[in-house]
């Protein structure tokens, strides 16, 4: 499971979900894997405002990945020289709209962390109830045992 999914997941226990400590889940003993893929600017642009940035930073630092900036990047930060491109676009009308966008280093870093890095084996731990969810073969198991349903 790619790290981006962790930005959408909390503890599955209903009473836990309402507690802010249940999000994000904390990876423990995680074995990471990297599956390289082509950078997807439209997706990064779309998902950026939906990200819980502070939580991504927490996970990245817990996994020992390169630290992310404290303030979330904006959509403009994802492409190289975005402000310039906009200026020329205004000057020459629609003609330059088709110019290929060059992903910035910020976009590449985000892509690396969110969409190429995944947890292969390990555990995800709830910060509220300490329940552990196992990750096996890249698939996390969120089924709750009998006494917790």
């Amino acid at each position: 499971m790619k790290l981006l999914t962790l930005n959408f997941l909390t503890c599955a226990i209903k009473t836990c979900k309402t507690s802010p400590a249940s999000f994000p889940l904390h990876p423990r003993d995680a074995e990471l894997e990297i599956i390289e893929s082509e950078i997807n600017l439209p997706f990064l642009r779309n998902i950026l405002p939906r990200l819980m940035w502070e939580e991504i930073r927490v996970i990245a630092s817990e996994l020992g990945l390169p630290s992310l900036p404290t303030t979330p990047p904006t959509r403009e930060d994802l492409v190289e020289g975005a402000s310039q491109a906009q200026a020329t676009e205004q000057a020459e009308g629609e003609a330059v709209a088709e110019v290929e966008e060059v992903p910035s280093q910020t976009a590449k870093d985000l892509h690396r962390i969110l969409l190429e890095t995944g947890i292969k084996e390990g555990k995800l731990v709830c910060g509220n109830c300490a329940h552990e969810y196992k990750v096996m073969e890249g698939v996390a198991n969120f089924l709750l045992p009998g006494h917790l349903v």
Partner: protein
């Protein structure tokens, strides 16, 4: 706006118009239906331009292509007159282009000599370009629509080819060629159609809560979406525990499917989870009753309880103290299997609706399949939710039952209807056995007796055998 002819396919009729409307919405294109009939593969629509026509049809699964309509009529005389009256201004544009003519008959055909004669009757168009059967720059189609077993066509259309549809994806994703499938994998054509209805597209995030072998996420990824999924049965995701395909050995899993179609980069991964105890986060908008979502689309085919049991976490009976203690003691052991219980189908549909209302972004779509008996009396009510607006209901009929593809759109908070879910609140939620919980399942295994009886009373001989009615 100019008129275009969409050559549809004559299958899944009730899905065709809904699919074109969905694709038009996705492409931001205005489409007006001038002529559309369920029993005809020819639809006449108004579209702003060739480019717009291509945008809409090039992804369509239930059409073959789109053509700029130059004329129509019920006889060749009428057709020629119509072409002369409506399109003469366009002729000169294609005067020198290499071209070809194609005759396409629906439920009828002409011999080669007759075809040639028909094509030659268009000589007044004055095309001087070379005729090329391959690599022609312009292709002109004559369409003939026959009544069943009729000798002469009832209507004729003439058009210039604009774009092919995306129907070839159906062959690429054919289950027979797919690396890993399960017993209840959705047919590729319908899975792709579902992805179209839910507006899967580049840049979007899609989720399937009942993924099984991952057919729906795969279809959404084909259209460029980033996808993830979950299932209560982890074996179907990891692929261990055998394959439904005879003689298949080795590691066959959902990941492998994405590898096969080179879509691995779009697969976020999968979870083993239960819809009633989902780990997906639900962020409350500050001070409001509505939720800020993060999913662009949800596509799913929930288990009907026929071929795939409908189970959720929990136990059939309340656990007593000793049992609770045993679970507490054992749950961390290798091989511990959490208890599951049968669940009501109507309730799970409501759960999916509530989940979608929480996690979808405004404008995001939910496309979900549900079965129903072909009998008015026991028709399952279509689930509703205050935050989800119905977009379309498409029906795939079988012999004694049918299934429907329901598509909803999440509406902005201000437009949400306060009533919330509840219209389909489940009267069987208190039952414990699968049959008590699932009305459809009970009817199915009774062989839809009520329907049979009704048919008998109507003097119609009940159809023998089950036919294709088992497709789950």
């Amino acid at each position: 706006m100019p008129e275009y002819l969409v050559r549809l396919v004559q299958v899944h009729e009730s899905f065709r118009k809904a699919e074109l409307l969905a694709l038009a919405e996705l492409g931001g294109v205005d489409i007006d239906f001038i002529h559309y009939k369920e029993d005809s593969p020819f639809a006449v629509v108004k579209l702003p331009s060739d480019l717009a026509a291509k945008k809409v049809v090039s992804r369509s699964i239930l059409s073959q292509g789109v053509y700029e309509l130059w004329g129509q009529g019920s006889t060749y005389k009428e057709l020629h007159e119509s072409i002369k009256a409506h399109s003469s201004s366009r002729w000169s544009r294609y005067e020198m282009a290499p071209f070809r003519f194609v005759l396409d008959g629906y439920r009828g055909a002409k011999s080669q000599t007759e075809q040639l004669e028909i094509i030659n009757s268009f000589s007044y168009l004055g095309f001087k370009g070379p005729i090329r059967m391959r690599d022609a720059e312009q292709t002109f189609h004559v369409f003939e629509d026959y009544d069943d077993k009729a000798k002469t066509p009832k209507s004729l259309y003439f058009g210039r080819f604009v774009a092919l549809s995306g129907r070839d994806a159906k062959t690429i994703y054919d289950l027979k060629k797919r690396h890993y499938i399960s017993t209840t994998s959705m047919d590729a054509e319908l899975a792709l159609l579902t992805a179209n209805m839910a507006l899967a597209a580049p840049g979007k995030l899609f989720y399937d809560p009942f993924m099984g072998a991952g057919g729906f996420p795969l279809a959404c990824a084909h259209y460029g979406a980033i996808v993830c999924g979950s299932d209560i049965d982890g074996r179907s995701i990891r692929g261990t525990g055998g394959s439904a395909r005879k003689g298949q050995t080795g590691k066959m899993d959902v990941q492998g499917n994405f590898k096969q179609y080179k879509l691995e980069g779009q697969y976020l991964g999968a979870l083993v989870s239960d819809v009633t105890n989902s780990p997906f986060r639900t962020v409350q908008t500050q001070g409001g009753p509505c939720h800020e979502g993060y999913l662009d689309g949800i596509v799913c085919d929930p288990p009907y309880g026929i071929r795939e049991g409908l189970k959720v976490l929990g136990s059939r009976d309340q656990l007593n103290a000793t049992e609770l203690a045993t679970h507490l003691e054992r749950f961390q052991e290798e091989g511990y299997i959490p208890p599951k219980r049968a669940y009501s189908f109507t309730a799970i549909l409501d759960d999916v609706m509530a989940f979608a209302a929480t996690t979808l972004v405004v404008g995001g779509r939910l496309s979900m399949w549900m079965p129903t008996a072909n009998d008015e009396d026991i028709e399952l009510a279509v689930p509703t939710h205050g935050s989800l607006e119905m977009v379309s209901i498409c029906v795939q009929p079988f012999n004694k039952w049918s299934r429907r593809l329901l598509t909803y759109r999440k509406v902005a908070c201000e437009q949400a209807v306060a009533a919330g879910s509840g219209a389909a609140r489940d009267p069987y939620a208190k039952g414990v056995k699968a049959d008590e919980l699932n009305d459809f399942r009970r009817k199915y295994f009774q062989g839809f007796k009520e329907l049979e009886r009704q048919r008998g009373e109507d003097g119609i001989r009940a159809a023998a055998g089950d036919g294709q009615g088992e497709d789950d």
